[in-house]
Structures are given as C-alpha cells and as structure tokens.
C-alpha cells in the first residue's frame, strides 16, 4: 500500500486545490468540475449511473474472461502445431493494427445492437496481449527442462501442464494485466456504437454538454479498471500460494 502513498497525496492535493479555487470563483467548473459537483451529479442520477456502471463492469469482466480463455487456448494450439501458428498468428498481428473504433460499426452490422457486439469489440482488442505473451512464455521454456521431461518419459500433456504452463505463468499474467485495461476500452468503444453502459452515458452527456456526467462516467471506468486489477492480483496471490501445478 505504501507504494500508492505519493499518488494518493498528489490526487488529494489537486482535488482540494480545485475545490478551494472553485469556492473562490477562480475555477471554471464547466471545464473540469470539482469533486463535490461530480459527487452530487452521481447522487442525482444515481439509478441511471449505477445501472450503466454495472452494465459496463459486467461486460468488461466477461470480455476479459473470454479473451483469456480464447487467447490462452489459441496460444496452446499454436504451440502444439507450428503450421496453424504460422497460418493464423500473422493475421492476429494484422488485425491488431486496425483501430477498434473503425471495426465497431461493422460489428453492429454483423451482430446487431446488444451485449454480444460489445463483448465482441472488447474481446477483439483484449485477446492479443494474452495470446502473444502466452506464446512468448511457451517459447522461452528452457530447452534442457523440456529434454528433462523427455528423459523421464513424461507425456505431451504432462509436459504442457507441469512445465510449459507454469513455466510461462508470469508471461501469461503480464499479458492478462495489459488485456484487463484494453477490455474496458473495448467495452466503451462497443457501447459507443451499440448503446448501453457508461460508454453511451458519455456519448449522450457529450451531446448535452454535461461535463459533470462525463467525468462521473470516467471515474466509473477508472474504478472498473481498478477492480479488475485487484481481482487479478487476488487470483495471482492464490495461485502462487497454493501452486496448482505440482507434479
């Protein structure tokens, strides 16, 4: 917790400074609303805000989970078959360069308005880090260790579960952290075009010049990102504590 102390002090100081300047009439709350105004806005729009918050949060978590399952499974398949890897991986890299904002309208046409489009958009952007880092992890397994498993006559499946996956665990987890931020971005991009959640709250508030609501939504998104990282940290702690990869 100590590591967050400098940031906490800075944020608190800025929040208080804006509040004070605002009271003295030296601040334009139309540009950046002070914390008290944002707080009031959230209270006034409680129902709409929290329902949007939970929608976005739920879809972010679902997308991240789906990205993990898909990206991880793809990486395992790639590592077992070089031909499939060389066929698909370059495509993944190519699609990685296409901005999600440009793809999202297409997804609406294909999948319609609804959560499926939002999840597709989020998975589209957040799958790559997991896929790529798992692949790197699997590739960096010490060659001698692989031979050791060969000498002691371990099956391919045993080698996968007891050597390759635990050996690339830190890579997989690093990819997951990157993906968790991207999943939120993908959900918001999806919500811009497909509607619903904090994404469309931002979109409608923008057209109504409701800066305070936009800021409320931004804070909501930040909280979702934090919750995801916290969940990942807890999972990480449990895995390193209970070590499910024992042979």
């Amino acid at each position: 917790m100590k590591q967050f102390l400098p940031t906490s002090i800075l944020v608190t100081a800025i929040t208080i400074a804006i509040e004070v300047l605002n009271k003295m009439g030296m601040w334009d709350p139309q540009l950046i609303p002070p914390a008290s105004v944002i707080f009031d806005t959230i209270q006034e729009n409680q129902e709409a805000f929290f329902s949007a918050f939970w929608d976005t949060a739920r879809l972010s978590f679902q997308s991240l989970f789906l990205s993990f399952i898909l990206g991880f499974t793809l990486a395992i398949i790639f590592s077992l078959n070089d031909w499939i890897k060389r066929a698909i991986f370059p495509l993944a890299i190519f699609f990685q360069t296409v901005p999600i904002i440009a793809i999202a309208p297409l997804l609406v046409i294909y999948l319609g308005y609804g959560p499926q489009t939002i999840i597709a958009s989020a998975v589209f952007v957040s799958i790559f880090p997991i896929l790529a880092s798992t692949l790197v992890g699997l590739d960096t397994i010490n060659k001698n260790l692989l031979e050791l498993f060969q000498v002691y006559q371990r099956s391919r499946l045993q080698t996968l579960f007891y050597l390759k996956i635990p050996g690339s665990y830190h890579y997989i987890f690093a990819g997951l952290r990157i993906s968790s931020g991207l999943a939120v971005i993908g959900v918001v991009a999806g919500e811009f075009v497909a509607g619903g959640g904090l994404g469309s709250l931002i979109d409608t508030s923008r057209t109504q010049q409701r800066i305070d609501l936009v800021f409320a939504a931004l804070i909501g998104l930040a909280v979702i990102g934090l919750l995801q990282i916290m969940l990942l940290n807890i999972i990480n702690l449990l895995i390193t504590r209970y070590r499910p990869f024992k042979l």
């Binding site: 010490n142 001698n144 260790l145 031979e147 050791l148 498993f149 060969q150 000498v151 002691y152 006559q153 371990r154 050597l163 635990p166 050996g167 665990y169 070590r243 990869f245 024992k246 042979l247």
Partner: protein
C-alpha cells in the same frame, strides 16, 4: 551392453565426429573427455536418445531407466526440492507414499534431508546441483548421463561432490557417462576414458585406466593419480 558402430554426427554439412566405435559394460564409469565445442554434449545427448546419429548405429539394452544431469542444475523454480526430485520417478505404477519414501531416502543420500521443503531460489549452487543429482539418481537408475555437472562449482564443493558420486557409484554400480573437459576430473572419477580427437591425434581413443581400488579421498593424493593425469595431458597435447 551399449554399442556404438561407425557412429557419426553432422550438423548441416559439418561433421562433428565420425567413425566412432565403442562398447560399454553394465556398471562402467566412463568419462567423455575433450575440449569445449568438440561435441561431447551432442554425443551424450545421442546416448540418452535426445538426439540421433547421422550415420552408424547405436544399440542399447531395452528398458533402461536413465537419469540425466545437465551442467546447470535445471530445477523447476515453482516446485520445492522434494517435488523437483520427484520428477525423476518416471514410473506410473508407484504409489504416492512409496514415491515420498523414495524422495526422502535419496535426499538423505545427497545430504539434503532437512531441505525438502525449500524452493530452488533458497539454495546455494552446490545444493542445487545436489538436488539435480538426486533427481537423476532416484528410483535406482540403471544409467546416469552427466554433462559437466560440476564445472560451475567452486573447488571445495566440486571435490566433495566428486567423492560422494564415486562412493555412490561403488555401492550401486550403475553405468555412468560423465562428460567433462577436465583431465583431473575424468581421471579421478572414471574407469574408462573416451578421448575426443585433439592435437595431432586424429582418432577417438578409449583408455582403460585400470585403477586400483583406492579410497576416493586418498586417491587424489596418490602417485598413480598424478601419473595418469600427466600421462593423459601429454597424450592430449600429442607428446606421447
């Protein structure tokens, strides 16, 4: 028991070695001696069936139960010492309690009885190598392949481990293939040497040291040891 006939190995079009003809008996302690880069590790990996010959043949007895020790200790960092050692048991028919018993007993042999619960990052280099050796010895291995296992250790620990390995071999008489680039080490440990071609010696040589039975600690000070080291060093430089 094991036989190499006209064995040769090439990478791309470069021959690493050719016309290798060796035979071993069960229970031999063989050092494979040669300078860095001459192909010792490759030969050892071929004997352990981790690589294949480019020409010639290798015949091995069926159902060997091999152990392998690499130059680095090669432990899995997420497993404890006991769990790492357990990897060496390839048999699927063994019960968990039997497995734990074997692990305990081999840890005692390599003087790590108290360290079973530690993780590799908590061990010194010498201890890591002991774990690696325990993993190779467990379950009464019939063949042991060792690739310069002590090269990275300091002299005190190297001498200690050499002596313990020799003691263990005298008791169990498993076949050992020991790769090294050190003449002293090969003379101290083994019964037979396989010399890679070097200097003006073009052919592979097998040398039977015909050692008398010394106690390991005394052997290092014996005149016979010095004579053999000098003799083989000279031979390798082409002076014999």
């Amino acid at each position: 028991m094991l036989e190499l006939k006209n064995a040769g190995k090439k990478f791309d079009s470069r021959w690493l070695f050719k016309n290798l003809n060796f035979q071993t008996q069960t229970g031999d302690f063989i050092s494979i001696l040669g300078p860095s880069g001459c192909g010792k590790s490759t030969l050892l990996r071929i004997l352990a069936e981790l690589d294949t010959l480019s020409e010639g043949s290798l015949t091995q007895p069926a159902n060997t139960n091999p152990g392998f020790v690499f130059q680095e200790s090669c432990l899995l960092p997420w497993l404890t010492v006991s769990e790492n050692v357990g990897i060496g048991i390839s048999s699927k028919t063994i019960s968990l309690s039997e497995k734990q018993e074997q692990v305990q007993s081999i840890l005692k042999t390599v003087k790590l009885k108290e360290s079973g619960g530690l993780f590799p990052h908590q061990l010194s280099g010498g201890m890591k190598m002991r774990v690696s050796i325990a993993r190779a010895l467990i379950n009464n291995k019939s063949v042991l392949f060792m690739d310069e296992p002590f090269a990275a250790l300091d002299d005190f620990i190297r001498f200690e481990l050499q002596e313990e390995l020799l003691d263990y071999w005298k008791q169990h008489k498993m076949t050992v293939f020991f790769v090294t680039h050190s003449v002293n080490e090969s003379v101290f440990l083994s019964q037979k040497l396989w010399l890679f071609p070097q200097g003006n010696q073009q052919e592979f040589k097998e040398l039977d040291l015909q050692k008398k039975d010394f106690h390991p600690q005394q052997y290092r000070q014996s005149p016979e040891y010095f004579r053999l080291v000098t003799d083989i060093s000279d031979r390798l430089r082409g002076r014999a």
